[in-house]
């Protein structure tokens, strides 16, 4: 039997939603599943150089004040950084796919991306092919 898999589409570039995707991904990998995240649209911007921590809060961003407050509380609660969660996700075998169409729309070249994180550049067919055999699939 194939290893059970989680496939996620990360459409949002919001900081809190990226946290959700990476925490779910790391949890799945830690519990013996495979995990893939398709970074598309606003989510793709988080894969650009220096872009990982740049996302706004999905609610109560308040021109950055909300984000600053949440980050302070997260630091106090010792929540791992996105950089660390991404490193763990990669280390445990998580797959990162970048949406090529979004790159075209937003005018982002491969050179502008954190290429060491990206396993593949793909389109919807790749997502469907993986999601078809996944026991969990999420759109974030």
């Amino acid at each position: 039997m194939a290893t059970p898999r989680v496939t996620m589409v990360l459409h949002s570039g919001d900081m809190d939603k990226l946290y959700s995707a990476l925490i779910i991904g790391n949890g799945a990998l830690s519990m013996g599943m495979e995990a893939s995240i398709y970074f598309t649209f606003w989510g793709l911007q988080r894969l650009t150089k220096g872009g990982l921590e740049k996302g706004p809060l999905s609610k109560m961003h308040m021109l950055g004040l909300g984000k600053w407050m949440i980050r302070r509380r997260m630091k106090k609660a010792r929540v791992a950084s996105l950089e660390r969660l991404m490193t763990d996700f990669r280390e445990l075998g998580g797959k990162v796919i970048a949406c090529e169409m979004t790159m075209e729309i937003m005018g982002i070249s491969k050179e502008q991306m954190r290429q060491e994180w990206i396993d593949e550049y793909g389109a919807v067919g790749m997502y469907i092919q993986e999601a078809r055999d996944s026991s969990i699939t999420l759109f974030i």
């Binding site: 925490i23 790391n26 763990d88």
Partner: protein, 73 residues
């Protein structure tokens, strides 16, 4: 064959689970991984992960805010 100690006291979700998994990946078959933690939810989810990974849980000790879990690789 020496035991592996994973000290995640003070760490929160998902770090204890991830560090447990990393240690189990490098542990030799038959060796024992001991995880020390203080995050209550991790005390519940680590045994679930051990079961899902098909490994053996040797024991859970302590309080939910200061626990130790032993796992056989």
């Amino acid at each position: 064959m020496s035991d592996i100690l994973v000290d995640v006291r003070g760490e929160t979700c998902p770090v204890p689970l991830v560090e447990m998994r990393k240690a189990l990946r490098t542990a030799a078959p038959g060796s024992i991984v001991k995880v020390l933690g203080t995050h209550p939810a991790s005390m519940k989810e680590i045994p679930m992960a051990v079961e899902a990974l098909g490994l053996q849980l040797l024991g859970i000790e302590g309080l939910d805010t200061d626990w130790s879990i032993r796992i056989q690789r």
